[in-house]
């Protein structure tokens, strides 16, 4: 399933397709962009490049260090919290 995030200002929905591409939906229109924010196709021809860079790389690492406190972690892994709690 695509990872979808709402832009906090415009309300446009950014959907990471899992291959680096991001589909942006604004007011019923859609556009496709690469992970660097470059337009590829569709009716939406401009979007927030930094939002695209975030959503388009969703599969690379987890999104938030603050999530660490809510995750089950084996005891032997607890001291380092590796990859789970680095501050963004």
């Amino acid at each position: 399933m695509a990872y979808r995030l709402e832009h906090p200002f415009s309300g446009a929905v950014y959907a990471g397709l899992g291959d680096g591409r991001v589909e942006v939906e604004k007011a019923g229109l859609r556009g496709l962009f690469d992970m660097y924010g470059n337009y590829l196709s569709g009716d939406v021809r401009s979007a927030d490049a930094e939002m695209i860079r975030w959503v388009g790389t969703h599969g690379v690492t987890i999104a938030s260090r603050h999530r660490a406190g809510f995750q089950e972690t084996p005891a032997h892994d607890a001291p380092t919290l590796r990859d789970k709690d680095v501050q963004e």
């Binding site: 990872y3 906090p8 975030w54 999104a63 963004e88």
Partner: protein, 451 residues
């Protein structure tokens, strides 16, 4: 909760960091209540500072040769014979654990023909030049001269390796080319408040070094304020009080504190506590909820409590005393000129350097400094990323890899834009408050350079 005096026009609307401390569920360390200087004028900073080779040469003479610099983590020099190399602006320093309780820093050049004695760290029994074999003991005394008969003019005492000043703090090794520099602890000043979070008792879980297409000052300035979050990291805005950050400076150091679990005042609506929580969890629209917050519960408080519980496994009982702020907020410090350790258990530490003598590229380093229990883990090897590599490759940085992927989108274009800017405007215009740390930097920089 109180909010900032609405009549005060030189600060953002919304709750200040100090307002948030008033509602903390735990005792707050006193130094977080302190406020330092934040008035460093409003003068522009000349754009040519970022590319001018004469300025870069001045920086070598009046900054790099005059100030304390973080050279490495002490954990890389644990055993006698361990070495590390610190290169700065065309100069090279060789750090050596020469005795169980002595770290020395030598000018990293053979006194025969000038070859670097070492080009990277690692263990050794002696310091031998790989060219002709001149050799020094770990304490810097001349040990061996090949074809000694050919060097009757070499006096052993005069051929001792010249040394720099060395001191340590917080598990870091500092060096100074200037032997008359003020004592390290006086230089660090209030930066030593980081002792509260025991940086010495950390190990380097990750260490990434990347060449950036910009001057070293452009690079570090991108990490000295939260002003850029509104545009560069929009995914955070429902859970970060970016414009409500507090900025302070004292002596040679500065500090920024950015509150989390509180919305950005840039938003024109008030997110629910559930939205704030989901944002801080990094949840997408279709992700299963991690927790459902009751109406009267604050996301900030819930996350702080979970973080305290989580940290107990590594901090023990100390974790239960962490304030909400320490558990949730972001603390980023700077010691002039280029050392940026973060506070609490955010674990991040930056260092920025010129890339050799090139004023238009630089080296950014990120260290993840983690607490541990039991035997000290070995420090992570350095991952070196070239100019064309992306931080995305450094997945050991966790979410930071993607955050830096957003940041790296800017810095090269800043460098390229500065020359165009200077065609009609001689300098860059920093904010009066949100870019306090940068203005503080330039107050020291311009005084040292005399420009």
């Amino acid at each position: 909760m109180t909010t900032l005096d609405p009549r005060r026009t030189d600060r953002s609307p919304g709750p200040s960091y100090q307002d948030l401390l008033d509602s903390d569920t735990h005792d707050v360390p006193g130094f977080l209540r302190e406020e330092g200087r934040s008035d460093f004028g409003t003068a522009d900073v000349p754009a040519h500072f970022y590319w001018d080779r004469d300025i870069a040469r001045l920086e070598v003479e009046r900054i790099w040769k005059k100030t304390w610099q973080m050279a490495c983590r002490e954990e890389r020099l644990l055993e006698v014979g361990d070495t590390e190399v610190y290169d700065i602006a065309g100069l090279s320093v060789l750090l050596v654990r020469s005795a169980p309780d002595i770290i020395r820093a030598f000018y990293n050049a053979c006194l025969h023909r000038g070859r670097m004695l070492r080009h990277e760290g690692g263990p050794t029994r002696e310091l031998q030049c790989q060219f002709h074999g001149f050799c020094w003991s770990l304490d810097g005394s001349l040990k061996r001269v090949p074809a000694r008969w050919d060097f009757p003019h070499v006096d052993d005492n005069a051929f001792r390796l010249p040394e720099l000043l060395v001191d340590t703090w917080g598990g870091f090794v500092f060096v100074s080319f200037d032997r008359d520099v003020i004592p390290l602890r006086d230089y660090l000043g209030k930066l030593t408040q980081l002792d509260h979070w025991d940086l010495e008792g950390r190990y380097t879980e990750a260490h990434v070094q990347k060449v950036l297409p910009c001057n070293w000052k452009v690079a570090q300035e991108a990490f000295m304020e939260s002003f850029h979050v509104v545009t560069t990291h929009p995914q955070l805005l429902r859970g970060i009080g970016d414009a409500n950050s507090q900025y302070d400076a004292w002596g040679w150091m500065s500090r920024a504190i950015t509150p989390r679990g509180t919305p950005s005042p840039h938003l024109n609506y008030e997110p629910s506590e559930q939205q704030i929580f989901d944002t801080m969890m990094g949840l997408g629209l279709d992700d299963a909820p991690i927790a459902t917050l009751p109406d009267d519960v604050r996301a900030r408080t819930v996350i702080a409590e979970a973080t305290r519980e989580r940290m107990t496994s590594v901090l023990g009982e100390r974790a239960s005393r962490l304030s909400d702020s320490e558990a949730v907020d972001t603390f980023f410090y700077t010691a002039f000129p280029n050392f940026h350790p973060w506070g609490s258990y955010n674990r991040t530490c930056y260092r920025f350097r010129p890339n050799g003598t090139d004023p238009e590229t630089s080296i950014m380093e990120v260290l993840v400094l983690s607490p541990f229990q039991g035997e000290r883990p070995a420090p992570a090897p350095v991952r070196r990323l070239a100019l064309d590599d992306s931080f995305l490759e450094a997945t050991e940085l966790g979410p930071l890899a993607r955050v830096f992927f957003q940041d790296e989108y800017n810095v090269g274009f800043v460098q390229r834009g500065l020359r165009t800017l200077a065609e009609h405007k001689p300098g860059v215009t920093f904010g009066a408050y949100q870019e306090t740390k940068i203005r503080h930097f330039y107050s020291l920089y311009r005084e040292l350079l005399g420009v």
